[in-house]
Amino acid sequence: MKRIDHAEASSKFIEAKDNADFHDRRLWDLRQKRDREKEKLPEWEELRTIASAIKEHTLTHLADYLEEFERNAVRNGATVHWARDAAEHNEIVYRLLHDRGARTLVKAKSMLTDECEMRPFLERRDIAVIETDLGERIQQLDDEPPSHIVVPAVHKLRTDVAEVFAKTLGTDPKNSDVHYLAESQRQTTRPHFLTADAGMTGANFAVAETGTIVVCTNEGNADLSVHLPKLHIVSVGIEKIIPKIEHLGVFVRMLSRSALGSPITQMTSHFRSPRAGTEMHIVLVDNGRSERLGMSDFWYSLKCIRCGACMNTCPVYRRSGGLSYGATYSGPIGVIIDPAFDLRKYSALPFASTLNGSCTAVCPVRIDIHEQIYKWRQIMSERNQLPFVKKEAMQLAGKVLGNPRLYRAALAAAGAGLEHLPRFMMYNRLNAWGRQREVPRTAPATFRQWYLANRGQK
């Protein structure tokens, strides 16, 4: 698998300046909305601690809770399937559809089905898959993966959407009014809801004590996908289990506040049992999760509730766009999940971070994201996955920083260099720090010089 070059892909993203500027502003706005919501809850920090502890408890007893969930789901009249990996998941879904003669599937957003690359798999087998979330539909029609786990088309401007819809839905290419575009999607998706053979959702939470699947949406598309067809398929990662209904009181309070800065999603839907005359099938998917559970540094990432707060706050994500990560999961959470799927392919991602820790500070389930990013960097270095320039630079830096005399000499030379070097020597391909930014002015003296002059005698 080819190594993803995040820096290279980001530089392309930045070239579309209007998109890049809007992307940065929009996501920062979501972060600020999140802040305003959490300020209203005096118990916010305690909720984060409790949410984290519930998840850690569940993950350390996961097998028992999975069995409890299965028992209750079966008692409710649902059928439970198990999939080791993406291939098994896709095959199960295909069999369910094929055996019932189903040719059309309306589906709500599910990162797991993206992770499994289910849509192309089904389409190759003549099953029409219609994404029904507006952002996800835009991405499907543009033949692009989602760029953000909550707002999939956030990297696009209204004019981009107008272009996509004109080509695929036959709308007026000159009309980029957002109401017109959204209404066009509503009108063109509705016939699919009315006639689809099957519906599919993901799951935000799966409750062990009742066998309930909880799905949070704003558009109502998950409910429309379930309440019309005769078959409801749920794809759920095994880490989505929570023990009890009362725990939803913690997670539902945090999810949308963290994601969008709203107190709750417009719909928080609880699917426990299929309606009369219909079927509900739940596919529990491992796909690398049990492996990650055994990684002592990285199993905490399984606590993730996919709110996207870490992406909205990340300065690198906001300025590089989700697609530049070349993976289903982007942003800080992607950086710590993706290398577990494919170390070499995603070896550059842990370097797409300034290690500022903002992701960790906003995470509703207290995942130590920036510390995990740092640990992944160490693994990349140990397994020889650093690109040549970075490796050479790091070795040189290691020598200089490890030797006080060399360090002082280098500082003096750098200070002089920064002041007097001609621009072409500072701002070129070899100096990554000189790209897209001006190097700051150097201080007139180093701390050591100041210390020796002012305190050295005492």
Binding site: I54, L66, L134, H179, G220, I238, E246, R272, L284, D286
Partner: protein
């Protein structure tokens, strides 16, 4: 070994050292009157609140709110409408409904949400295919917060239940808020004793 047993065995062998399950306290609820909070929460999420305690005639309120509605389908005895739920064969038959009417079991002050179930709807698609939704709510049945609501295990025995908070909405294009993305274009909660 079956896939199921294989996954369970693998999970069991990889599980880190057991961590305890924390107690979840009921945090101190917002001191403001419940109805005031509920209304503010609902309006914030794009919903409308109408208190009909004075008139007691929900039918009249619905007609006044939606004078142009051709098809009104009600799952409540208080509102008559002109489409009988009993005649609905397939959920898709509700495609032409202008206004759906349903009664909520309770509301949540913290968020402005109403709790609706498959039994309340009769046909659950009513809450999503209708162009507009009217929800009757006894304002005596307000809980302070989501945590209090999720402590009532028996309510979650419904086959299907939803906390509905305002109409269908999206901000997927440039963050511009649109009501009526896929489901109902508007949500009106009428305060009316059960």
């Amino acid at each position: 070994m079956s896939t199921r047993d294989d996954i369970l065995a693998r999970v069991r062998s990889k599980q880190p050292a057991p961590q305890p399950l924390p107690d979840v306290p009921l945090f101190k609820p917002d001191p403001r009157p419940l109805l005031e909070q509920f209304e503010a929460g609902l309006v914030r999420m794009g919903g409308k609140f109408v208190n009909s305690a004075g008139t007691g005639d929900a039918d009249a309120v619905v007609r006044r709110l939606f004078p142009d509605a051709k098809v009104i389908c009600s799952a409540t005895p208080e509102v008559t409408g002109n489409r009988l739920l009993a005649t609905v064969g397939l959920p898709a038959d509700l495609d032409d409904v202008d206004v759906g009417v349903v009664r909520a079991a309770f509301g949540v002050a913290e968020t402005g949400s109403v709790w609706l179930t498959d039994t309340a709807f009769g046909v659950s698609a009513l809450g999503f295919l209708s162009q507009h939704l009217v929800v009757l709510l006894d304002t005596e049945r307000l809980l302070p917060g989501l945590q209090q609501a999720y402590r009532q295990r028996q309510w979650f025995d419904a086959r299907y239940g939803v906390f509905l908070t305002g109409p269908s909405a999206t901000a997927d294009i440039e963050g511009v808020l649109i009501h009526g993305a896929q489901g109902v274009r508007s949500l009106t909660v009428i305060g009316m004793p059960a």
